[in-house]
């Protein structure tokens, strides 16, 4: 039954992608066909995946397509069900949000059709990855997802920037896919089959297992955006239409995480603790560098993209902890780490897509993507601002919203490192936790910047001043996600109980104590060790607020609020240029962590012809400068040297043939 829903989701997504081809002429028809079907796909995905997750059962199906000796195996178990729900949720919101959002593109130079077609196929690809139970199907889904995403990123291909972003994305994604394929190859070498069930049953020696693990780490990491494999992310996300960015950042990265979990926890099995240490290390690096780079961005979507790097880092910290505990024989704690990571997947999917949807509205309404030109939007688009605020609070890991819960669980997992007999690990894990804490605090700083500069204060440009609230669809979509953010923040116990079904797939035990004290209390290890009563926190805040409000109510009547000009220490009338800019806001942090970024600053003192003076700041990316550019240069250089063999002289060509012949004759007669 759940599998039927999942298949229905795939079919609906296919239909959403392909049916509009039949009515390519009418934008109205395209929208009427594509988006409802997309919504149906999302809904079916949620139902199917949700049923599988809640019931904790696995469902298999073999379709008679694919290779002659390897038919398409499909599997819906709680793990894939969970990710199916994620995909479904964001897809559903996209279907609500999309029709109004794409109206902008109807006036643009590109036809609408490719956007809807590839959005549909993109969802198909992701669902297929989640459902695949053999490497061939998996790779088909995987690459379908990559290519559709590529075509979505290039949708507005009139801008050169978008094209190069898409190119980098697809290139890295392709290399990642090849590495993943290689990883599956290693597994298949021992299982003698590409069927996941056989792979999972095969036992690998540690050396080969580690090789496969590393291949998977890099392969999936390229897609997930781990540092230093993240460089495509901040390029591609701003280039795509916003609802696609939401899908890419919110769900596609999660599908990569899914792949990694499936590969490492399920197919490889028996993890070695050193793998966990590697994952923990890379996750920590990604988290901290992701947020630090995000802080320096002032293109809104680019900033959000770097935050995706950060959040993927956090997820990998959880996974790393889980691997370490699993490798040292603590299944309950391993389950805790895994659940923390999965919970963060859920949360990130919700709040990051919420933020991207919000960014899309801002972009559409103000036609600005530069933070420095926004400001004061809260007064003209209150709903979007409110939802965006919820997203900001969630991503900054503040209680009682959802981001906090998963980080809290990760902390709890990290703090259990004292059970490890290996003291070095015991010392390193708290450091990773400290990095996580630093990340969270910096993220909060970053989102104060984003929200403050974008929504508060005075508008910094004409366009920002002219922006207005969006239509019903996008508003509903955002409100829905914002509510979910709150809901999953307030009901962690229920959520964790469901996620335990996934942990039980891989570890002998779930977390027996976690939900033992009722839905109010989340006690991951035991109630003595740590507890968090999320509903009570919300209740407490509300109660305190209410009491304060009631207490001050009489005074409010006596002294009504008087509206006046801003005081500003008496400096006289405010104007928008007096405000702190995004660049200025992060200046202290820039000074503190100076070597982290390659920064070029241009100062121009005020002069007669340029009375305002000028300051310009460019923040690059070391990974790009130090890793990718040299590789590119090396490749082109070797191509230039190799091109000598095509020098144009026919006698040289004949000489190649001649000497090849002589060489081969010599070889065979030796």
């Amino acid at each position: 039954m759940p599998l039927n829903f999942a298949l229905l989701a795939v079919l609906a997504a296919i239909a959403s992608g392909l049916l509009p081809l039949a009515c390519a002429k009418s934008n109205r028809a395209i929208k009427l066909l594509a988006f409802p079907l997309l919504g149906l796909a999302g809904l079916c995905g949620i139902i199917g995946g949700g049923l599988a997750l809640l019931s904790g059962t696995s469902h298999r199906l073999i379709l008679p397509v694919g290779l002659p000796w390897l038919h398409t195996h499909l599997l819906l178990d709680p793990l894939s069900g969970f990710f199916m729900v994620l995909v479904g949720l964001v897809t559903l919101v996209t279907a609500v949000y999309g029709p109004a959002y794409v109206r902008e593109y109807e006036r643009g130079p590109q036809p609408l059709l490719p956007l809807t077609v590839f959005t549909g196929l993109f969802i198909v690809g992701m669902d297929l990855v989640l459902l695949a139970a053999d490497a061939f199907t998996f790779m088909i889904g995987w690459e379908l997802m990559s290519v559709s995403a590529y075509l979505l990123v290039t949708y507005q291909h009139q801008h050169e920037r978008n094209r190069s972003a898409a190119f980098i994305y697809l290139l890295m994604s392709h290399i990642g896919a090849l590495l993943i394929l290689l990883g599956y190859g290693v597994l298949a070498g021992f299982a003698d089959s590409f069927d996941f069930a056989r792979m999972a049953a095969a036992q690998l020696p540690l050396g080969w297992g580690s090789a496969a693990f590393l291949l998977a780490l890099v392969g999936f990491g390229l897609k997930a955006g781990l540092v230093p494999l993240h460089v495509w992310l901040p390029e591609a996300h701003p280039a795509a239409p916003s609802h696609v960015s939401a899908l890419m950042s919110g769900v596609m990265l999660k599908v990569a995480v899914y792949g990694f979990i499936r590969f490492t926890f399920d197919l490889l099995g028996n993890p070695h603790w050193s793998w966990g240490l590697i994952v923990l290390f890379i996750g920590s690096i990604s988290a901290i560098l992701g947020v630090l780079y995000a802080l320096m961005q002032h293109d809104l979507k680019r900033l959000l993209a770097y935050h995706s790097v950060e959040n993927i880092g956090i997820i990998y910290i959880g996974l790393g902890l889980s691997l370490i505990f699993a490798g040292t024989g603590h299944p309950a704690l391993a389950a805790l780490g895994l659940i923390a990571a999965l919970y963060h997947c859920l949360n990130h999917a919700l709040f990051k897509s919420l933020l991207f949807f919000g960014a899309g509205v801002i972009l559409q309404q103000s036609r600005e993507h530069d933070l420095e030109k926004m400001g004061g939007l809260i007064r003209r688009m209150p709903v979007t601002a409110g939802c965006f605020l919820v997203g900001c609070i969630s991503i900054s890991a503040l209680p009682p919203f959802n981001g906090f819960v998963s980080e809290w669980l990760t902390f709890q997992a990290a703090l259990q490192s004292s059970v490890l007999s290996n003291n070095i690990l015991g010392a390193l894990i708290p450091v990773a936790a400290a990095v996580l804490a630093l990340t969270g605090a910096l993220a909060a700083a970053c989102f104060v910047k984003v929200f403050g500069v974008c929504f508060l204060g005075l508008p910094r440009s004409e366009r920002a001043a002219a922006a207005c609230e969006t239509t019903l669809g996008p508003r509903l979509g955002q409100i829905f996600l914002a509510l979910l953010c709150l809901l999953f923040g307030v009901l962690p116990t229920w959520t964790v109980a469901q996620l335990e079904n996934i942990a039980r797939l891989f570890f002998s035990s779930g977390m027996p104590e976690a939900t033992a004290h009722g839905w109010l209390w989340l006690t991951p290890v035991s109630s003595e060790v740590a507890s968090y009563g999320a509903p009570l926190v919300l209740l407490g805040i509300a109660l305190a607020w209410l009491l304060t409000w009631l207490w001050l109510h009489p005074r409010r009547r006596r002294f009504p609020v008087r509206i006046g000009p801003a005081w500003d220490c008496g400096f006289g009338p405010l104007n928008a240029r007096m405000q702190y800019t995004a660049t200025a806001f992060t200046m202290p942090i820039r000074r503190i962590f100076r070597p982290v970024w390659p920064i070029t600053e241009e100062h121009q003192a005020p002069s007669a012809e340029n009375p305002g003076g000028r300051y310009r700041l460019r923040v690059g990316d070391w990974a790009w400068l130090k890793i990718y550019q040299p590789i590119g240069r090396l490749l082109l250089g070797s191509a230039r040297r190799l091109a000598m063999i095509q020098g144009g002289n026919i006698r040289a060509y004949l000489a190649y043939s001649f000497f090849t012949l002589l060489f081969l004759l010599l070889v065979v007669s030796l």
Binding site: R640, A643, M644, Q646, G647, G648, N649, I650, R651, L654, A655, S657, F658, L661, L662, L665, L666, S669
Partner: protein, 225 residues
């Protein structure tokens, strides 16, 4: 086995083999186009004689047809056509530049040795001459290629190519008493078409590039210049 134990016909074949190799060297050394064409024609004659000899000796009469084709194509038609073209394109006097004549000759000698070395492992079964004649024909082929590589004129390249084919024919005739008839005919047809195409190309080269010097064919390349 000593040479004296062989039959006269076999001795003759060996002698002809040596002569053909000699003409190959002549081709390599020759630096006037008309002389090249003449030498090539003489090589064709030697091939013709060899074929006839093999035909008479083995009693495979279809080899006579092959010999006739050789005579017609290699001795008469191709040299005649080349000569006609050379006169028509007025390149009779073009002195061929051979890249370091003595060096090329030495290279030719090395190639002969190499050919012998390469065929040495072949197990001897019946006819003694076959292995050695294969060595000779391989040498002729390799020298033909060397000639193509070292000549800058298109005409000389064609002659090198044709002489290379002579080596092939020689191998086919001497080692295996010719190919099956249908193949022989096919090959002859191909050679004929090739010869005509060469002629067409000379004109195209002259009109399109303005020269028959193959080193001027360098528009299509991928090097940064």
């Amino acid at each position: 086995m000593a040479l004296t134990q062989l039959s006269l016909a076999e001795q003759l074949v060996l002698t002809l083999a040596a002569l053909i190799l000699f003409t190959s060297f002549l081709l390599l050394a020759q630096n006037r186009i008309v002389s090249l064409i003449h030498t090539f024609a003489w090589q064709g004659v030697l091939l013709f004689v060899t074929t006839c000899l093999m035909a008479a000796n083995s009693g495979r009469h279809h080899l006579f047809i092959s010999a006739g084709l050789t005579l017609a194509l290699k001795v008469f038609f191709i040299p005649w056509q080349l000569r006609r073209l050379v006169i028509k394109l007025d390149i009779r006097r073009d002195v061929e530049v051979v890249g370091g004549p003595s060096l090329v000759m030495i290279a030719g000698g090395v190639l002969v040795l190499f050919s012998y070395y390469v065929v040495l492992p072949i197990r001897e079964l019946s006819f003694l001459a076959s292995r050695n004649t294969i060595a000779i024909s391989l040498a002729v082929i390799l020298i033909g290629m060397l000639m193509i590589i070292t000549r800058r004129k298109a005409v000389a390249q064609v002659i090198g190519f044709m002489s290379l084919e002579n080596g092939l024919f020689f191998a086919a005739v001497v080692a295996t008493y010719g190919m099956p008839m249908v193949v022989e005919l096919g090959i002859a047809f191909d050679v004929l078409v090739a010869a005509i195409l060469f002629g067409i190309f000379f004109f195209q080269l002259r009109s399109g590039i303005g020269s028959l010097d193959v080193d001027h064919l360098n528009r299509l390349h991928e090097v940064d210049r």
